[in-house]
């Protein structure tokens, strides 16, 4: 699996040169926050309201920015057909998939961390909880495991920019619901006991989808 890491490192190197993915995801996420703070300007005066809204606002930012990221996840591979060269390298296709997932999760976590900081500035509300970090990581793993698979899937179809979010969102219900509910519970001051069941569903989803997607990824990149 060392090759999966090589692929992730290679993607980081490309990102370091091109800087298109991270910048656009961050800016997009920031813009959504701004739109929300304008839309909810009357509600943001009390921190009780923010505790109610916060989970939804943050996860919408994460989902939109993530979807933007997935639409580019395979861009470097398809630009000059590099995926064809990767396919005939001496490794299992699962390595390609995992490499992409590792890279996507890392990029998303960076974007999410900055989004949370911006959120606390714009909404004047600080969330510093290790539980919140666990929920975000769990949600991001599930999100990326499906997102990378679908990103590879839409590469060869027409109107892929439109198809990706449409395909992605119905499959994300089982990750979004526990993630949003747990986040909202944490915002309202819940402890580990209150979110254990949510976390369990979240990580079951992560494992099931990583496993299923690893198995079927081979069929997606075949052509």
């Amino acid at each position: 699996m060392i090759k999966a890491l090589h692929i992730a490192v290679k993607d980081f190197r490309i990102e370091a040169h091109a800087k298109e993915l991270l910048n656009s995801m961050l800016l997009f996420s920031f813009l959504i926050l701004v739109v929300f703070s304008i839309a909810f300007s009357e509600l943001t005066s009390s921190s009780g309201n923010i505790a109610m809204l916060g989970a939804g606002v943050l996860w919408i930012c994460f989902v939109f920015a993530g979807t933007l990221g997935f639409s580019r996840a395979f861009a470097s591979e398809t630009q000059n057909g590099a995926i064809q060269a990767l396919k005939i390298c001496p490794m299992s296709p699962i390595s390609i998939y995992l490499g992409k997932v590792v890279f996507t999760i890392s990029i998303m976590l960076i974007v999410e961390a900055i989004t949370v900081i911006l959120f606390s500035i714009l909404f004047n509300y600080t969330i510093l909880s290790p539980l919140f970090v666990i929920v975000v990581i769990g949600g991001t793993i599930g999100f990326a495991s499906v997102g990378v698979l679908l990103s590879a899937l839409v590469q060869n179809i027409k109107a892929k920019e439109i198809m990706l979010p449409v395909l992605l969102l119905p499959l994300l219900v089982p990750v979004l619901l526990p993630a949003v509910s747990a986040t909202s519970a944490i915002f309202k001051g819940g402890d580990l006991g209150m979110i254990t069941t949510y976390l369990r569903i979240l990580f079951v989803y992560d494992i099931v989808f990583l496993a299923v997607a690893s198995i079927v990824f081979e069929y997606v990149i075949e052509d």
Binding site: N80, G81, P90, E222
Partner: protein, 237 residues
């Protein structure tokens, strides 16, 4: 005694009703330079993809150096490299980073990899541009770097899928020279350029509608006539 390095046993590839490759038997000897030619849509590229394990055949099996893909799909891939009309490179990485990445994919590392990169960049005349991003390269330079990429792990077999398409005469000449020099490597070239195939290859295979319809030594006098019968006059120009 030269042994058969690539053996295809009645391989076929079907896409629903469409039969792309139909029951092809093929043997290629160690060190041979074989051209595969034929009209568009004859299944040449699909055949090459089947031989390079990037497609599963619907039927039959492929053996490289005596090992079947159905037994080993991982390590056997170290035996061959692919050079296509697409460069398979990352535009946002420089030449060395590209080669280093693909070297890593072939389990190469450290000094051995760096030496190999230096050697290949020297051979392809790209040493001066080694730290420039590939997006700044011309088409010809990309193709030379792609040649280096295909040979990074020193494969026994080189699969070539129309490597000259889109290149100007000068750039194709360079690739051509590089190919001729690799005389110890078994080379399998898919091309439309029949004159070129006749001048540098040892053997010419002709495909039509998914089947292998002719197999010549390139010195054979009847090559041109047969090919123009199969492919139409235009193909020979």
């Amino acid at each position: 005694m030269m042994n058969n390095l690539i053996v295809a046993k009645s391989i076929a590839k079907k896409y629903g009703r469409i039969i792309a490759v139909d029951n092809v038997d093929l043997c290629v000897k160690d060190g041979e330079f074989v051209a595969i030619t034929g009209p568009n849509g004859a299944g040449k590229s699909t055949l090459l993809k089947l031989l390079s394990s990037s497609l599963h055949p619907s039927d039959g099996e492929v053996l490289i150096n005596g090992v079947s893909f159905s037994d080993d799909r991982i390590d056997i891939r170290k035996e061959f490299g692919v050079l296509s009309h697409e460069s398979y490179l990352y535009d946002d990485l420089n030449a060395i980073e590209n080669l280093r990445f693909f070297g890593n994919m072939y389990d190469m590392k450290g000094i051995q990899l760096e030496e190999q990169i230096k050697m290949l960049l020297g051979e392809t005349g790209l040493w001066k541009r080694a730290t420039d991003r590939v997006s700044t390269f011309s088409r010809g330079m990309k193709q030379r770097l792609s040649f280096a990429r295909a040979l990074i792990h020193d494969p026994k077999v080189l699969f070539l899928d129309e490597p000259f398409s889109g290149l100007d005469p000068g750039a194709s000449k360079i690739i051509e020279q590089l190919l001729i020099k690799k005389s110890s490597t078994t080379r399998l070239l898919v091309t439309h350029n029949i004159e070129f195939a006749i001048s540098i290859c040892d053997r010419i295979l002709v495909m039509d509608a998914g089947r292998l319809v002719a197999d010549f030594e390139s010195k054979d006098e009847s090559v041109r006539e047969t090919i123009s019968q199969i492919c139409g006059i235009d193909a020979c120009v």
